[in-house]
Symmetry: C2
Subunit: 224 residues, 2 copies
């Protein structure tokens, strides 16, 4: 098996679904952040396949290859990773693959409006907090997709682990305090009974539970 190194900021974000996929499949990887590598910024620019034109993270390095698209990396590792005898990206059954991909894309619908508040320049902290609260108002851009995800898990609760469940759970958990986005209200996820059920199921899986017992800054990933 090649040596995998993942470079990202020291928060969950777009790297966490990839980290979790390695973890549940028991595949070792080097989890490199600016906290673990003082040369992080120089290495990032030297390694990045899109430099100098663009330089987003994460980056996965393996076997002399480099990829920097988070969901392409997730599908690649998910295609190799197994949990309880099944691949985490189930491409052998087209319908299972469809459901998995739908969860990933639906989670992107939820993530994008939040992500836009990270790249937008606000005039002060109050304006940023108001923008983030608006996403979660009754008619908010994130509220509508939290409702859709909650309904989806209510209609069809997962019976096995996939990168679709992992991605959905990771993105939803950005909305659960204490998260690295401090302006999210503490009760943002309380209306969503099926997302709470998903949280308890995922966070109690032995490999995931053991991982977060020793991880820093991930209290939002632990069982409630």
């Amino acid at each position: 098996m090649p040596e995998y190194e993942l470079l990202y900021w020291p928060v969950s974000g777009l790297a966490e679904p990839i980290r979790l996929t390695f973890v549940v499949a028991g595949i070792p990887f080097k989890d490199t952040t600016p906290l673990t590598d003082p040369e992080f910024n120089d290495r990032k620019l030297a390694l990045h396949p899109y430099a100098p034109d663009a330089a987003g993270l994460p980056i996965l390095v393996f076997d002399g290859k480099v990829c920097c698209q988070s969901r392409a990396i997730l599908r690649y590792i998910g295609r190799l990773a197994q949990h309880e005898g099944a691949f985490l990206y189930p491409t052998e059954d087209p319908l299972e693959q469809l459901l998995c991909d739908e969860l990933i894309d639906l989670s992107e619908d939820l993530r994008r409006p939040m992500s836009a508040t990270v790249t937008t320049q606000y005039k002060d902290a109050a304006e940023k907090e108001a923008a983030r609260r608006a996403l979660l108002a009754a008619d908010g851009e994130c509220t509508k997709f939290l409702k859709v995800l909650d309904k989806k898990f209510g209609e069809c609760f997962p019976t096995k682990l996939t990168i679709g469940n992992i991605y959905a759970w990771s993105i939803v958990t950005m909305f659960r305090q204490p998260t690295f986005i401090p302006e999210i209200p503490a009760d943002a996820l309380s209306p969503y009974e099926n997302l709470t059920k998903l949280h308890q199921w995922m966070s109690s899986l032995p490999a995931i539970k053991a991982y977060y017992e020793s991880s820093q800054g991930r209290d939002n990933y632990k069982p409630l």
Copy 2:
């Protein structure tokens, strides 16, 4: 084979890569738009799996199932569709799948800033045109990803058809006049030699060429 129906607006957009995947594999599908179905809006709301909370297009209907995530649909059809004996979504070889997924995600990086100008409310047409031109300026949000895509196709020109090439070409072609986004400058793609080479290759494939000979409003998909 099930009967496939795809519902979308009568433009290329997010449905075109799916339509092209059907076309190159010779899989019949019903291409429903408001121009072909007077009940379009009512059917869209009745069928949409996320209604009433969200209602984006396209929608694929088949075998009593409904999916509305465009890239999940694309991967599903790509997993079933073949061209010259190979599946269009190559999930059997993880590295081929990675390259294919990277092209899809990179095309999304290019599409998203343009897409934001569709959902933004501008005070007048001049402001909208300025916003779209800014995306394509020397330091524009789309320019940087057009450069990355051009470099990528320069380093590794495709030797076979995948949904990755199809998606990249479809998104790039939104920037080639005459497109359904009238504010794009006519010469937006002229700096990109490898994207031009990709265009000539894709648009000259016999199934694609035949399809666009009889399609309305798709002159930008024809060979230069």
